[in-house]
């Protein structure tokens, strides 16, 4: 019964999507030569007006954008609109799923000159690889790790989270996956598949005396930090740059010896693309140090996967200071989680939160 209705609904929805896509593609088909369609989050680098203009002037290729508002939506759009997109942004945690489904094509780096500058840890990250081929071009990345008040002693390990020196001065990110990863790093396990969840729970419960609050948004973090409610916290690298640059908060981002928890976004070409050469040219432009420096300074951007681009940033640039290339060596990347594991993670985090509240 459930299956039937679900399938029916899905069929109806896909039919609607295909119909919609078909209609919207009609005018596009007419002059498809020299034109690419990019699928990305809105306002995420690729659709900067000045950048698109510069790219079109340089190559004569026109750039059109379509947006998604969640990762599952991005996959659905790729599945139901074959041929509609030439470049798509995919979080590395989803790359293999998309590759296995045959939605995206491997990248031939010989046609992407700027790929030479990509940090090797990112360019051939296991999350991107399938059958020895890279199914995406590493584009931008970031870290979740520790943030401390400027001037206080730099923690060299996540054990600082349980250190009595920080009693009542710790803020944790209220997110199950992140906290399980911290517990896994502390107990020497794989962040994406810790086998001993009891050990993770134990480690997380050890923070109890230190935890002052659990933050869930950057804004909340900024307000509480400005009010000096904590000195040590789990935080995002990009947010740390914004807090320091825009809110002028005395915060310092630290990655301890266990390594940070990383995310990596890639640009890739769908298998159904009608203009893969144009797509590759666009990807090449997106990892161009010139574009990146302008994006990072004019607008503000995550760290570039292109080491050469990071080196082109001014030496005192916060983005460059926070995203040190050596962090890439110790960093563990989040990858896709099966539903049952995600559920187990959430149960652990609920249990730990209940313990904190006791």
């Amino acid at each position: 019964m459930t299956n039937f209705t679900r399938r029916e609904t899905m069929r109806l929805m896909s039919a609607g999507l295909i119909a919609g896509a078909g209609l919207s593609m009609l005018p596009r088909k007419a002059f498809s030569a020299g034109k690419i369609t990019v699928l990305n989050w809105q306002g995420y680098g690729t659709d900067e007006a000045w950048a698109v203009k510069a790219f079109t002037e340089k190559t004569g290729i026109e750039v059109v954008h379509d947006y998604f508002s969640s990762e599952p939506e991005m996959l659905t759009k790729l599945r139901t609109n074959p041929g509609a997109y030439d470049v798509v942004l995919i979080n590395s945690a989803r790359t293999q799923q998309a590759a296995v489904e045959g939605l995206i094509a491997p990248i031939d780096f010989s046609t992407v000159p700027n790929a030479a500058g990509l940090s090797p840890e990112l360019k051939e990250h296991p999350n991107l690889m399938s059958d020895g081929k890279a199914y995406g071009t590493a584009w931008v990345w970031g870290i979740t790790s520790l943030a401390i008040t400027e001037g206080s002693a730099k923690p060299d390990s996540y054990t600082a989270l349980a250190d009595p020196a920080h009693k009542g001065r710790l803020a944790l990110f209220d997110d199950a996956v992140t906290n399980i990863a911290i517990g896994a790093l502390l107990s020497g396990q794989d962040i994406n598949n810790p086998t001993d969840l009891a050990a993770v729970t134990e480690k997380l419960k050890g923070f109890k005396e230190n935890v002052k609050l659990l933050w869930s948004s950057e804004d909340q973090w900024n307000k509480a930090f400005a009010a000096k409610e904590f000195d040590l916290s789990i935080y995002w690298s990009g947010a740390a740059v914004r807090s320091k640059r825009n809110a002028k908060l005395p915060v310092e981002f630290v990655v301890p010896k266990e390594g940070g928890i990383g995310w990596l976004d890639n640009l890739t070409i769908p298998t159904s693309s009608s203009n893969p050469e144009g797509g590759l040219a666009f990807i090449n432009y997106m990892i161009d140090p010139e574009f990146y420096v302008e994006w990072a300074i004019k607008v503000g951007a995550p760290a570039s996967a292109n080491g050469a681009a990071m080196e082109k940033l001014p030496a005192e640039d916060l983005n460059r200071l926070v995203h040190k290339p050596e962090y890439l060596k110790t960093m563990s990347f989040q990858s896709a989680l099966p539903d049952d594991r995600r559920e187990a993670f959430n149960n652990v985090w609920q249990e730990v939160k209940a313990f904190y509240a006791e």
């Binding site: 459930t2 299956n3 679900r6 199950a176 609050l213 659990l214 959430n346």
Partner: protein
């Protein structure tokens, strides 16, 4: 007896000369009740039913995972015993919030109905309702500014006693209860106010002329006569408070873990709608059980 009169009218049918066919009574009744029931079905019954169905599924019915019928979501309280503690905390928070709302709300309503009149009363009523029209999130966030260390409250204290320490109690259960009382007090004031203005002044004058002191008037006359308002206010407050998640999350810090936040996490973070739905229905059952236990008191109060 007014009820007899209506029955008689119904039996006799509409008076006066009528020709032609009159539809039977039930047609009119149904037609008149239709909008109400249609609305209830649309706004209450259907969403509840959808969630009830969800609570028996093994996973959220979106995506490609196969979905099977299961009762395991309802075993959550057995499989995850820490939920019992959270549930108890929620009930305790609900109890204190309701109690404080009842005390302050009732007194405010007494003051409003007995000590003011005319334009002044209207103005005060609007002032009480005003916070209701502002966004709840804004209200809760402004409390964080008042309660935090070196916040407004601390500054005020330091004006009087510069050497005193901090009296900040942000990120405690007290802060959560304070935020909730602030948020829900208008419900109680309104229901009590409506019950209180119907009390005849003559009754109170009679009591006072017979020598009753203020507490006798309050507890022997005002409270019993306004009991229906007080009780509906309590029900109106208790139910949403034990499911609240915004106030505990923002004002509670690490102690702000309630059934509300657990359920919200299931919907927004864990993407486990079935478990969220099952927890909600378990909570609903507990609330109904509490009301059933006290139904005698509630009925007597409401009838008074």
């Amino acid at each position: 007896m007014p009820s007899d009169l209506t029955t008689n009218t119904a039996v006799r049918g509409p008076s006066g000369p009528r020709t032609g066919w009159t539809p039977p009574q039930w047609v009119a009744t149904t037609a008149l009740l239709m909008p109400t029931y249609a609305w209830l079905t649309l706004a209450v019954l259907l969403p509840l039913l959808t969630m009830f169905c969800f609570s028996f599924l093994s996973a959220t019915p979106m995506g490609k995972a196969p979905i099977v019928f299961t009762l395991k979501q309802y075993r959550a309280f057995i499989d995850q015993p820490y939920l019992l503690n959270i549930g108890w905390t929620s009930l305790v928070i609900g109890f204190w919030t309701t109690l404080l709302c009842a005390v302050f709300g009732f007194l405010a309503a007494v003051a409003l109905s007995r000590a003011t009149f005319g334009r002044m009363r209207e103005t005060l009523l609007i002032l009480i309702l005003l916070p209701f029209w502002t966004n709840g999130l804004v209200r809760v966030f402004s409390w964080t500014m008042v309660l935090r260390e070196n916040g407004f409250l601390d500054n005020l204290l330091h004006l009087v006693a510069p050497d005193a320490g901090s009296i900040s109690f942000l990120y405690t259960r007290y802060a959560v209860v304070l935020g909730l009382v602030h948020g829900y007090l208008p419900y109680m004031i309104l229901t009590c106010y409506i019950a209180l203005i119907t009390i005849d002044d003559a009754i109170i004058e009679a009591a006072v002329s017979l020598g009753a002191r203020w507490w006798t008037v309050l507890f022997k006359i005002l409270v019993p006569m306004a009991a229906p308002g007080l009780i509906s206010g309590c029900v109106l407050i208790f139910v949403p408070v034990i499911g609240s998640f915004m106030e505990p999350r923002i004002l509670g810090g690490k102690v702000g873990v309630t059934m509300g936040t657990v359920i919200e996490d299931q919907f927004t973070q864990a993407f486990n709608w079935p478990l969220g739905a099952a927890l909600s229905f378990t909570l609903l059952a507990v609330v109904l059980a509490i009301f059933a236990t006290f139904s005698g008191v509630l009925k007597r109060g409401a009838a008074a």
